[in-house]
């Protein structure tokens, strides 16, 4: 199935990426990515390391040297927009692969750093209910947290801004199973609250029950799209794509 046939089955996409190419310096990393998702949906980008999943998120955020194609969010075009205007205009929350917790900022400063981008940011009380661990470490420096706490903070930080479209890069990477389970619960809660989520994920077992649709990326292109209900029948193919 090609990405285009998926489009036909959907109503008004919130995010629509078409023929997205991206470069770091001279190296051409993305070769025409197509994907889309409607408000309230969750998609995953699957694939091997270096396939271009992280770069797809970075290209949407403007964090590549050059990008062409089209990135539409809520019907508006973002491909030519300068980096610092993208998140506030589109209401995006971005959680980078390395989590991006600032070591010279306290937990509280990290939490309050990103400017508000949408009207209904999550109040601090609700954030601390969702991530109870963070309440106790508010005054600590950002990097004196465990990996799990850092990941919670990176999530909490973008929820506070009122972003409704979340780009989350490898949020379970290197974390203990119990924390991965907590993150699964958090993602499920967010989906129930109507957030729209793009998840780059290595851990298919984590992603499978959460997603509406999976995009398989290889060599900077989408090579397959698997709807949630097709997982059973396409399991062999998925295993083949993701095997190292």
């Amino acid at each position: 199935m090609s990405p285009d046939t998926t489009a036909a089955t959907m109503t008004k996409p919130l995010l629509k990426v078409s023929d997205l190419h991206a470069w770091y310096g001279e190296s051409h990393v993305l070769h025409g990515i197509n994907l889309e998702l409607a408000e309230g949906q969750l998609i995953t980008l699957l694939g091997r390391n270096g396939a271009g999943r992280t770069t797809t998120l970075r290209a949407i955020m403007g964090l590549v040297d050059r990008r062409t194609g089209s990135i539409q969010i809520g019907g508006a075009e973002y491909i030519g927009m300068p980096r610092h205007k993208i998140a506030p205009t589109a209401g995006i929350g971005y959680c980078p692969e390395e989590r991006g917790i600032f070591s010279t900022l306290t937990v509280e400063e990290n939490l309050m750093l990103p400017p508000v981008v949408g009207p209904d940011g999550m109040p601090l009380d609700e954030i601390f209910t969702m991530f109870p661990n963070l309440r106790d470490v508010r005054k600590r420096m950002g990097t004196r947290l465990s990996g799990g706490e850092q990941q919670m903070l990176a999530m909490a930080r973008i929820l506070r801004t009122g972003a409704r479209l979340l780009l989350l890069d490898e949020i379970t990477e290197g974390l203990a199973p119990v924390i991965v389970k907590t993150l699964g619960t958090v993602i499920r809660q967010l989906k129930a609250k109507g957030y729209t989520i793009v998840l780059v994920e290595q851990n298919f077992r984590f992603a499978a029950p959460l997603a509406d649709r999976h995009y398989v990326i290889e060599h900077g292109e989408v090579i397959d799209v698997v709807e949630a209900h097709e997982i059973e029948t396409k399991m062999d193919r998925l295993n083949h794509y993701l095997s190292v």
């Binding site: 403007g62 964090l63 980096r83 998140a87 070591s103 010279t104 900022l105 400063e109 750093l113 801004t161």
Partner: protein
């Protein structure tokens, strides 16, 4: 020499040293702020300090003459506000039109650029003003005279400079370490790309930071004008010491720059009591020792 006299002498030289120290602190503070965010070693900092002093001098003694308005003397207090703004705007122009092109390159390029700006500024002022210095007559009436500190009579103006500069340093430290604007600066120092992705205009922040750092140099220049004579080379003599302060304190460390600046002024002063000829070189001895023991500086992050 009795112990009592000795103590008085040490404290007197200490006060004079502290007076130099607040200039070291204010200038290295500006350098540290700039280095932290821009990774630029601003060699022009001394020349911008000198420019600040000249702006004060021009406002007071020349502007009226140039404009043909004999009674026009813009004095010390207005200069304390105008000169940093003028120097800060000049810094913004430098960043916007010159430095910006060098960010991707080896830091040596920005060092060379700012060194060149230093030579141009010095040359300009030498061309139009007395190279050996012009006294600044605008010291405010209220700050003339001396105060009795108990162990010495100390010029009122110098006491004002010490207190005022320390307050400025504390204010800058507070803004950077304890406010949201400061958090944005610190985050931008660490990971400018991500800060920008969050929706903060980092290039504009960089421009304003450079402007602010240079404005601090201009402010120090105004404060220096009534004490030292205003000369085109006044910054060149100071910048070498300032670099030593920044290296000892740790590149980019705000608190390190301030504390080290004050401490080295004091040490310089006190050295005069024990062995006067060493007072000009003691800072450099300390720099060598610090570099051997803690290469990242006293307050810098090691490794």
């Amino acid at each position: 020499m009795s112990f009592d006299v000795m103590m008085k002498l040490i404290m007197a030289q200490g006060m004079l040293g502290l007076n130099n120290g607040v200039f070291y602190a204010m200038l290295s503070l500006g350098l540290a702020v700039i280095f932290g965010l821009l990774n630029v070693v601003n060699f022009a900092h001394g020349a911008l300090y000198m420019t600040g002093a000249f702006v004060a001098l021009i406002l007071n003694s020349y502007l009226g003459v140039w404009l043909g308005i004999g009674w026009l003397h813009i004095g010390f207090w207005p200069a304390l506000i105008i000169a940093p703004i003028v120097v800060g705007l000049f810094g913004i122009l430098i960043e916007r039109f010159l430095l910006r092109w060098l960010y991707g390159l080896d830091p040596i390029y920005s060092l060379l650029l700012t060194f060149g700006i230093t030579l141009v500024l010095q040359g300009l002022f030498i061309n139009y003003f007395n190279a050996s210095g012009t006294p600044y007559p605008g010291m405010p009436e209220s700050l003339r005279g001396v105060v009795n500190l108990g162990f010495m009579m100390f010029p009122k103006y110098r006491l004002f400079v010490i207190v005022f500069s320390i307050l400025v340093c504390i204010a800058v430290w507070f803004v950077i370490e304890r406010t949201r604007i400061g958090a944005m600066l610190r985050a931008g120092t660490e990971n400018p790309e991500l800060v920008q992705a969050f929706g903060i205009n980092v290039p504009r922040m960089v421009t304003l930071t450079f402007g602010f750092g240079t404005a601090l140099a201009g402010l120090a220049g105004v404060l220096a004008a009534p004490i030292y004579s205003v000369s085109p080379l006044m910054g060149a003599n100071l910048i070498i010491i300032i670099f030593a302060v920044v290296v000892i304190g740790g590149m980019g460390s705000i608190a390190g720059a301030v504390v080290t600046g004050l401490a080295l002024g004091l040490i310089e002063g006190v050295t005069k009591v024990f062995y006067a000829p060493a007072s000009n070189t003691v800072i450099f001895f300390l720099m060598v020792i610090v570099l051997l023991v803690r290469p990242a500086g006293l307050f810098g992050r090691q490794g």
